[in-house]
């Protein structure tokens, strides 16, 4: 008798548990991600930029015959957009990186573009991977997603074919992690959150790779789940294994963690006032919204204070005040 009650109960409990894991958590995480990120960006936006403080990394626009650096020191909005594009798409500033080294008792500066390369490789391959995942969320699969997948798996290695972006992302993440562990200086500045973010990303990538090339997963089931999530008609399909579950939970953790960690640099990079402003402070008036009057030492006060000395030195006094 008890068994008759217990079995369906347990089954439904298991079903509910699975529902929470496969549906509840992703929804919550994504909501936190979107809400949190918006909250962060709005928070930044609410603080004004009182002064125009671009870091100028090249010649200013001044006399017409002097060649200016329109992208490293833009004087127009368009130039600033260009500068931001270089920054966001190609990591311009990191590209400048060099290493100070002592030789013959003097500093010499050598190239150091590994970080730039690693960061570029990581971010771009991550973007490619994210876009490729659209094949699971959209039905029918957009042509550009299919095309990306095709190019990404151009080299026929294994079945399914190896995605180059997967290799790149793993190598780049490994590099980013190892440099933190290897380099004493970076180990010194690294905090828990630095490792946490890297490990989450690495874990997510590894489980993803494992599903594709190792343990396998029923892609159709995964896609049904994904479409269900995307269209608010969640289904809990059978056949998604434990690896997928870990993958999903890690992604959820990453999404939920995102707004509250350094990962918000994704949004922040666009708002950096040392980069996204045109260096036109002397060309155009810029208003500080909270500019308030301050106590100054006015000319009248000053003249009053130094009247004798001004007279003695025959420096002309202000006629308006001079009686």
């Amino acid at each position: 008798m008890a068994a008759l009650v217990a079995v369906p109960l347990l089954a439904s409990a298991a079903g509910v548990g699975k529902g929470i894991l496969l549906v509840g958590i992703p929804y919550a995480a994504f909501a936190i991600f979107l809400g949190g990120l918006c909250w962060r960006v709005v928070g930044w936006a609410r603080s004004p930029v009182p002064f125009r403080i671009p870091t100028t990394c090249g010649q200013q626009t001044s006399l017409p015959w002097i060649k200016s650096a329109p992208l490293d020191n833009p004087s127009t909005g368009l130039g600033a957009v260009g500068r931001m594009a270089l920054e966001v798409l190609l990591f311009r500033s990191l590209f400048r990186n060099n290493r100070a080294e002592i030789y013959d008792q003097r500093y010499v500066f050598g190239d150091s573009k590994w970080l730039w390369l690693g960061a570029l490789a990581f971010h771009w391959s991550l973007l490619v991977i994210l876009l490729r995942h659209l094949r699971l969320f959209v039905q029918p699969v957009p042509a550009f997603v299919l095309f990306m997948g095709k190019v990404d798996s151009f080299f026929q290695i294994g079945a399914p074919a190896l995605y180059l972006s997967n290799v790149v992302v793993l190598c780049a993440l490994a590099y980013l992690l190892l440099r933190r562990l290897w380099d004493l200086r970076l180990r010194y500045i690294s905090q828990f959150s630095d490792y946490f973010a890297l490990l989450l990303l690495l874990g997510t990538a590894l489980t993803g790779v494992l599903m594709r090339y190792g343990t396998r997963v029923d892609v159709v089931a995964v896609k049904r789940l994904a479409i269900g999530l995307a269209t608010f008609q969640p289904v809990v399909p059978d056949g998604v294994g434990i690896v997928f579950l870990i993958h999903l939970l890690m992604v959820s953790a990453l999404a939920a963690y995102f707004p509250f960690s350094k990962l918000v640099h994704m949004g922040g990079v666009f708002l950096s006032p040392t980069r996204n402003l045109a260096n036109n402070s002397r060309m155009k008036r810029h208003v500080n919204p909270w500019n308030y009057p301050v106590k100054t030492h006015t000319y009248a006060e000053w003249e009053e204070e130094f009247r004798d000395k001004l007279l003695m030195a025959e420096i002309p006094l202000d006629e308006a005040k001079h009686d």
């Binding site: 009182p50 002064f51 090249g58």
Partner: protein
């Protein structure tokens, strides 16, 4: 020597940057500001105290003051708020800081310097930090933290070099400026900034030189110039209706080698017949408010526009000064504008309209002179500078807060025959600070300055050995004050001059007598042969 010192060889102490303990050692920190100057400026909590003391006599509600101050600034400055959030600790900035390179003190790495305040921000202003505390990188705000702030925020010369390399453009100068503002709220100022600021506020310039002495000083300069050139120049002070108001850093009229630059301006203005005036009220272009607080910056800067309005000039010309130009370029009009009583600057000699300054109406002297030279309005005899082999040091603020890179070079290349650039990673936007910027150029801080200036001195030594450079030119008053010291220690034999001193040397003035000396009163040609590079002592 005790035996326990052997332990050093084993595993180094696994300490953490979160440990705020700092030791104030002589030669590495600046003296605290005297109460009377703090009071004179109406700043909070004036008192006599000493950083090396255990008790800093902080107000009882100091913690509240700091946290409220932070909250207020987070709302006012997107830069501050953003820079607190987006650092990923990639490490690109670490070896870009001259103080870090000179001292190897890990807390001088820019991201760690910022982390000193960021950790407090996390603990008190972010949800993650409030809940997870140190796990989320948060740190309790204690008196030790305040002391650490004082120590390290006054070991940053706000040169912005790290900002050039940061992938997010995080500017440690912004963070340090806010940090100093917060310390300011507790009355923790340094004397070398507060005293000049107080003098500047009251009298008009950093040294508190009063109007008559100011005039004497300029007259004295005119005498000197007459001796060299045989020409007597005018000294218009407070001349109403002049076309141009000329503002320079006050060091130009009381310190050397700045002073020779003043002689250069004077001869130039005379030669082109510029209708201009000096001002005794706005006799300071420099602005130590930049090193104190945004408010103080505004208060000190107000004089320039006020004076321009009072005198009815058309536009303003600014002399050679670094941080002065950061303020004039990036802050002045926003703070104290609009400058609608002025006109867009037009060179009366060439007719060039300075479009890049049309709103603020203030032109850099190098822009002005470069324009003159480009249009061949003045004649130069660069041979008069032949005793010098010149290099150019980009001052941080004009380089990274303005982008004034080519104009001074253009002037220099026309004014001297021997010009050599320092290695490219140490000039232009990548220029190294003299180590004494942002109000750190004080005597008691000498050791720290010498360390901080080490990378710059290194680059100078490079050109000294390679090209026999014996003169470093620059356009910054702080450079002119502290570089001679720096170079005397690390690269003996290299002197310092302003760009317009070299211009003044080379300028062929109408009706001048045969020049036998340069503006310094030294014979035009080197009396003794140059020290050969090989003889330069390795340091």
């Amino acid at each position: 020597m005790t035996d326990n010192r052997h332990k050093i060889e084993q595993v180094p102490p696994r300490s953490d940057w979160r440990d705020p303990a700092v030791e104030f050692r002589k030669g590495t920190y600046c003296h605290s500001a005297g109460a009377k100057y703090v009071e004179a400026l109406g700043l909070p909590n004036p008192r006599d105290w000493n950083p090396a003391d255990a008790d800093w006599k902080l107000p009882s509600d100091w913690k509240e003051i700091i946290l409220n101050g932070m909250a207020e600034r987070l709302e006012r400055f997107r830069s501050f708020k953003l820079f607190m959030d987006v650092c990923v600790r990639c490490g690109a900035c670490a070896d870009k800081c001259h103080y870090y390179l000179g001292s190897n003190d890990p807390k001088n790495m820019p991201m760690v310097r910022a982390e000193l305040i960021r950790s407090v921000y996390r603990r008190y202003f972010t949800p993650a930090g409030r809940v997870f505390g140190s796990l989320a990188g948060g740190r309790e705000l204690t008196e030790e933290v305040i002391k650490e702030w004082f120590y390290y925020f006054y070991q940053c010369s706000e040169c912005r070099r790290c900002s050039v390399f940061c992938p997010f453009g995080i500017d440690t100068a912004e963070i340090t400026m806010i940090g100093r503002e917060l310390l300011n709220l507790l009355g923790c100022n340094i004397n070398w900034i507060t005293k000049p600021a107080a003098d500047c506020f009251r009298v008009g310039n950093h040294l508190g030189i009063q109007p008559h002495a100011f005039k004497d000083s300029l007259e004295f300069a005119a005498d000197e110039l007459e001796e060299v050139t045989g020409i007597r120049v005018d000294i218009p002070i407070g001349k109403k209706g002049a076309e141009v108001l000329f503002v320079m850093p006050s060091a130009d009229f009381f310190a050397t080698p700045h002073y020779y630059t003043l002689l250069g301006y004077m001869s130039l203005f005379h030669e082109i017949g510029l209708d201009f005036t000096y001002s005794a009220y706005a006799s300071e272009g420099g602005n130590f408010g930049l090193f104190t607080s945004h408010e103080m910056m505004k208060r000190l800067n107000a004089k320039i526009y006020d004076e321009a309005r009072r005198l009815g000039v058309k536009w303003i010309l600014g002399g050679e000064c670094g941080h002065m130009w950061r303020v004039l370029h990036q802050y002045m009009e926003t703070m104290n504008g609009p400058a609608d009583f002025l006109e867009a600057p037009v060179s009366p000699v060439t007719g060039t309209r300075f479009e890049n300054a049309r709103s603020t109406s203030m032109v850099h002297i190098c822009e002005f002179t470069a324009d003159l030279l480009y249009h061949d309005k003045i004649t130069l005899d660069p041979k008069r500078n032949d005793k010098w082999s010149v290099t150019y040091h980009d001052s941080c603020n004009p380089a990274r807060g303005m982008g004034l890179l080519e104009e001074p070079r253009y002037v220099l290349k026309r004014a001297c025959n021997n010009f050599h650039e320092m290695p490219e990673n140490t000039i232009r936007e990548q220029t190294f600070c003299c180590g004494s910027g942002s109000g750190l150029g004080t005597d008691e801080n000498l050791e720290m300055r010498l360390r901080g200036g080490f990378p710059r001195a290194n680059a100078v030594r490079h050109v000294r050995e390679k090209h026999g450079v014996n003169l470093l030119s620059c356009i910054c008053a702080i450079d002119k004050a502290t570089m001679p010291t720096l170079l005397e220690y690390w690269v003996p034999g290299v002197e310092v001059a302003g760009v317009h001193e070299l211009l003044g040397n080379a300028l062929v003035m109408t009706g001048e007598k045969e020049r036998t000396t340069n503006l310094r009163g030294e014979p035009l040609q080197a009396a003794v042969p140059e020290t050969s590079p090989a003889e330069v002592v390795h340091g």
